[in-house]
């Protein structure tokens, strides 16, 4: 599966928007209704699913789907 789509599939497990309808400008809290717990669990899931190590301080600055994708792509391409 395309890596971006796989990443969006993971986001879709936490919200009411289907993976294919997620756009990069969507904000996790305001648009996708993520709670603090949901967002932090999602970060943990990124680590477990893709076997990457997030920088927590940087991850906490993520606001939009695009921010999360950029952070994720930087990690897997590093």
């Amino acid at each position: 599966m395309d890596r971006t789509l796989e990443f969006k599939e993971l986001i879709a497990q936490y919200c009411d928007v289907a993976a294919e309808d997620l756009t990069e400008d969507m904000r996790f809290r305001e648009d996708l209704d993520f709670s603090s717990l949901g967002f932090m669990s999602f970060l943990g899931d990124i680590e477990d699913t893709f076997d990457v190590e997030l920088d927590q301080e940087q991850a906490l600055k993520v606001i939009t789907v695009g921010d999360a994708l950029d952070m994720f792509n930087d990690l897997v391409e590093a």
Binding site: S36, G38, S41, G44
Partner: protein, 461 residues
Amino acid sequence: MKKEYELTAAQNMHYQWIREYKTQQVSGVSIVASIKSPLDFGLLKKCIELETERYGCLRLQFTKPDKKGNIKQYIVDKYKADIPVKDFTGMSLKEADDIMQSMAYETLDGDDRPMCEIMMVRLAEGYNGFFIHMDHRLIDSCGIVVMVNDIMQLYTHYRFGAEYPQDLADFEKVLENDLKKANSEKRFAKDKKFWDDQLDALGEPLYSDIQGTKVLEAARKKHKNPKLRAADIERKELFVAVKDYVLEPDPTKWLMHFCMNHQLSMTNLLLLGIRTYLQKVNDGQEDITIENFISRRSTHDEWTSGGSRTIMFPCRTVISEDTDFLSAAYEIQNIQNKIYMHSNYDPALIVEEMRKRYKTPADTSYESCYLTYQPMPVRMDNPFLKDIPMHSKWFANGAATKKMYLTVSHTENGGMNFSYHYQTKCLTEKDMELLYYYMMRILFKGIAEPDMTIGEIIKAV
């Protein structure tokens, strides 16, 4: 052959309380949900039976403890217990509630047996519904709300032709996934590191009590250790009383607006209110720990699979009196966010680590206050039942493992209910009154003047 699973950390938390306090009563959870409308009890029974098929956690049973006292869980194919109708129409709602309250004190003893009892109820004033008494290892309060709604959606489907409710997530699949995560060595190491790092950075926690420093002083005398930082837990007399206070809709809105405007969660604001009170009555103590319950439900599957996903973690903050209110709130939020990320961890291991490091006496603790914030009201969210008055109530199980356990929930009219469960052996209603009074004074002073320091707020209230 039945497939057996070990307990999850959340289930194990309840099981360890049962073992420590030697009664299943500490793990009881009961609720009545009713509407002011005639109900077809034959149909309601069918819907409840259907729910036991849809919601796998209702069919959960436990094995007999092994030689070490450990148990396993398994899911039976069919819920076999009877679902009788109980008639309470000859008495007031209050009298019926009192009877159901006494039923909530009953224990579900034994192994390899259903851990859930359901009965349908006819109540006074035309209310009809059902009462459920079960073990917390099967379900938590969010799970109960989902279940109540699902039963009524099934009922309105068959009765009024409403849409059939969507499938609920497979409890067993979610359980397997949870256990897989818990057994992941990499995840475990990350979580353990987070909790160990906190102890490395801050050292041994320090007990703080609702009644002030005298409690820790008494523990220091009892254990003949003037440097002791933990205080005793009541193990024998577990009777709990409940005192509820309702915050009106307008002030509730002010709190919610403050949270929204400052991107804060209500849990963190409440934690700040409690910890500032503890700081005030414990001679300005800066190092405060409060146990906070979190319901680990984030994904769709976690929301609808039932099960017991609520687990408590210590929220420890060291906040000096010259920190302003808003910065203190963010400090709590920062630590809570990190805790959320490491909430797969078994909190029993945190306690074990502290015992190992600090050699605290048995039956002592660093915390006197426990908080649960429930954003979900117990309400039947069903368009076919709109405008029909409802009567629902959570019943305390009557045995507290915790000195003071505050549950904050939202009321139907937009207010908030502060429900203080307290061990009567140690605390009185007056203690709860003071705690609520000062919590409110602190919170409203803080949201009105968020630049005020914690020290200034403590003095002002």
